[in-house]
Symmetry: C2
Subunit: 528 residues, 2 copies
């Protein structure tokens, strides 16, 4: 390895990777490589981290949740202390605006998320302790017994960072060590997060390998990692092709994997809503598509409405908004390439471009907000290809000839993270809503009314998930505690186990005095 590359974090130590290859992140606004050099780890690095993680898993089981809770309290404080550095690094690496996005939206969200995770860890209700006093059978969710591999996406350098984001926090609360793989788009941001994490885990008294960091590895080593007997589970947020390859490898080996892969986030606009507030609904769509240059997993990429004068006028409104917008700077060259492919795929599928397509001037990776339209009949000719996620400010409006065709379009949807229905406030769309909702309901994780899907609140009631291929399983969410934690936990039953050998959560006495437990069918904070 060239000595100037940054070291990796393995078993509590920053040490040089065994790598001969390195990479540098790109400044997407300038289109130039950034100076910092990071290693592409060979399998030997991964194997060493896995072995250290396996030891850490046993150590974490022995010390219980208290040090994890402390870590999740100390870590955000240290991260907050390095806010300036982090926001600068993230801005350079992603071209996301410093304000409000990075500094005032995503950074506070990161801190809030970690603090919610800390609270869930202290509270312990997440583990759903269930006690049958008559039969003396007791169960709870507990750690998986090994390190969890976390691979984060390009688009949220803080809130979804493999080291520090929601999956990271969830896996730790469940009692598992985390082996984080930085997204190669923002290694410096991730390095600073890891520096804070190492300091926090020492202060908290967590085992040295409870948080480890690699920056990059070959795709085939990723497949080997997610299917390795020592990896307890994997969390992946990213592209559909990468996710599908990882899923196949993990599935074959019987290793759990949680994937957030893609979503077109269909929005159905019923006739009454268009009649009532066309400008408002057009503005909301435009704003939602422009957010973070459309690089949101919840960006509305498919909008369905009736092909009547109001629908036509709506398309014109949105088209004008898209055309008046300046070109957006993307996260990197791959996103730009993906948008060009998406445009070609939509055109190939018979959609017509109504806005965008200009080659923007200026350095870096820029893209003109782009809008396509197609008839409902056209969409139904190839619904598979036309609902593939286009990551970036690119949307497809489908003009269906009648409500029956709109229902048919809904029924041909595959799994998406979200689905929205806009309707008139006075209830005149209620019949259409009642017909559409049951069809859409089974296709999406989160159903919205009169609201665009791009905001994802960190709430116990959130579902940031959905049926395949949006994710790998319709029953789990990546956002919101306690539900997101359960992904990284195993159901552990204790049958006739002696009282002094039970974990604190299952002893007669409520360990925190306020933990919720299901005792003989009643949720209670009392002791047995």
């Amino acid at each position: 390895m060239r000595p100037k590359a940054f070291p990796i974090l393995v078993d509590g130590k920053w040490r040089p990777a065994r790598a001969s290859e390195t990479f540098r992140a790109v400044n997407p606004a300038a289109g130039e490589f950034l100076p910092e050099e990071y290693p592409v780890s060979p399998w030997a690095d991964i194997a060493e981290a896995l072995a250290a993680g396996a030891r850490a898993a046993l150590e974490m089981a022995a010390i219980g949740p208290e040090p994890v809770a402390r870590f999740l309290e100390i870590f955000p404080k240290l991260v907050e202390g390095r806010k300036g550095e982090l926001v600068s690094a993230a801005h350079l690496e992603t071209a996301l605006p410093t304000e409000p996005r990075l500094g005032s939206v995503e950074f506070p969200r990161l801190l809030d998320q970690l603090r919610q995770a800390a609270a869930a860890c202290r509270d312990r209700s997440w583990c759903r302790a269930t006690i049958d006093t008559k039969l003396n059978i007791r169960s709870m969710f507990g750690p998986l017994g090994g390190p969890v591999a976390v691979m984060g996406p390009n688009n949220f350098p803080f809130a979804y960072n493999a080291l520090g984001g929601g999956d990271f926090a969830s896996a730790l609360v469940a009692g598992n060590p985390v082996l984080a793989k930085s997204h190669p788009g923002h290694p410096s941001t991730t390095r600073i997060m890891a520096e804070a994490a190492l300091e926090a885990l020492r202060a908290a008294g967590l085992p040295s390998a409870s948080v480890q960091l690699l920056y990059h590895f070959a795709a085939e080593d990723g497949l080997r990692l997610v299917s390795h007997p020592s990896v307890a589970a994997t969390a992946f947020t990213g592209s559909r092709p990468s996710g599908m390859a990882l899923k196949e490898a993990a599935d074959r080996a019987g290793r759990p994997i949680y994937l957030e892969m893609s979503s077109a986030n269909p929005v159905f606009i019923l006739p009454g809503a268009l009649a009532e507030r066309p400008d408002e609904v057009a503005g909301e769509l435009f704003q939602s598509c422009m957010l973070a240059a459309g690089q949101m997993c919840t960006k509305p990429g498919l909008v369905v409405l009736l092909d009547d004068p109001a629908g036509q006028a709506y398309v014109d409104r949105v088209k004008n908004a898209f055309e008046s917008a300046e070109a957006v700077v993307l996260l990197g060259p791959k996103v730009l390439e993906g948008l060009r492919e998406a445009s070609a795929r939509l055109a190939q599928g018979g959609a017509q471009r109504v806005a965008g397509g200009r080659e923007p001037s200026g350095p870096g990776f820029r893209f003109s907000p782009t809008l396509f339209r197609i008839s409902g009949t056209g969409f139904l000719r190839d619904p598979g290809a036309l609902q593939v996620e286009s990551f970036g400010t690119l949307s497809l409006i489908v003009l269906s000839k009648d409500m029956a065709e709109m229902m048919e379009i809904a029924s041909r949807l595959e799994g998406h993270l979200t689905g929205a229905i806009y309707s008139h406030r006075d209830g005149r769309d209620d019949r259409e809503y009642a017909a559409l909702e049951p069809i859409l309901r089974t296709k999406v994780g989160r159903l919205l009314n009169d609201k665009m899907p791009t905001g994802v609140a960190v709430s116990p009631a959130m579902n940031h998930g959905g049926p395949y291929p949006a994710t790998g399983h319709p029953g789990f969410t990546a956002v919101g505690f306690p539900a997101a934690i359960i992904r990284f936990a195993a159901l552990r039953c204790y049958d006739n186990v002696r009282p002094d050998r039970l974990p604190p959560e299952l002893k007669d006495n409520n360990p925190t005095g306020r933990m919720w437990r299901l005792i003989d069918g009643e949720w209670t904070q009392k002791s047995v």
Copy 2:
């Protein structure tokens, strides 16, 4: 199809299968085919049932949980009315004893399970309604949006029957239609169950295709079924090779599948327990191995103890018990074949047969209770092959040279349903227990103390599940409500959805007055 074959149940009607092939079950005690002829359905039957099931899923969503609850109350009553017929049929088809097993153990369990499911359905707490009043985000578990395929095992003709057992009931409570495939070992038992179910669903007002029955189909059609876009999920209980093939097909297609595949149910006997009560522990092991001729997914198939005089004496005790036992009648020829293969595999792996191996006299499929032993060192030479489930009265005792080797054996276990530790009542094994438990804990779904694993109580605290390859996922149980229901449910979030459009479970008003909901972080039965 030959006209004398029994019809299949599709979309509420008993109609002839499109089959040209038929099969007959075997009377395992006599080793003779039973007279009833049943069809092997071609894909066309499956496709028709899937299409009808898809329609039924939408109908069930519209009518809500009340008719399902009624069905789950009426069905056990009708089943109870046909107890004599059912017990006779099951006895003929499985050779399981009429009393106490079928009539007084499994039959009451079937009824109790259905009634618990009905209660869960009425109660609705299973859906874990979660409400964030501040953000107006609400979520709950709801149906998957299509029929659930249920494939039951050979060994529980009532309690795990594809039509009427735990998976069947769980899938229905979650609001899904069931497409049941009878185990070909007990088609007549299943037919009687289905006759009662059809009557019950008419009385309850459920859609005609909410319960459908096929008797058999080709293995390749099974793979096609579990990976079909119209199948919402699959539940399979059976052999590991079949389960693995189904898992691969379902995983590739992104269709959820829940599998209970195999388990050796390791039992660790610590030195103190052997010193204290060797006869008792030997008797418990013997009884547990003999239960249902060892054809239990929770049969202790791997017993680990120290190779010292007490351990040697224990092996002799168990050997004597096994040798004094009469040959057992198995469920069918495949089980016998499997046991012969298992014996060969154990011998091949260096284990020594200490009991069994005689060719029993008498008709049908009989097997002499068989015990193997091997040293810890021998076991560790090929731990993979030596911990494969042997379905039937066949167990392997591992004599380890010291506690360190016993820990090593535990660490080389793969996922099993259960793991048990026997120890002295006075606590003298506590240090060994403390060292062993954390290793064993991550390998099994249910951990027992001083108790054999063969009893599986239907309790909310039960986990009849475990890490791969015991099942496909460590977070789910096949037994115990409400947890077993969640397997067949999708997490559904409602974001900003108007109050009148919310499902009853998520409206401000508690729909039953006693349903448990997580409102702003507190479990409560109150309304918002």
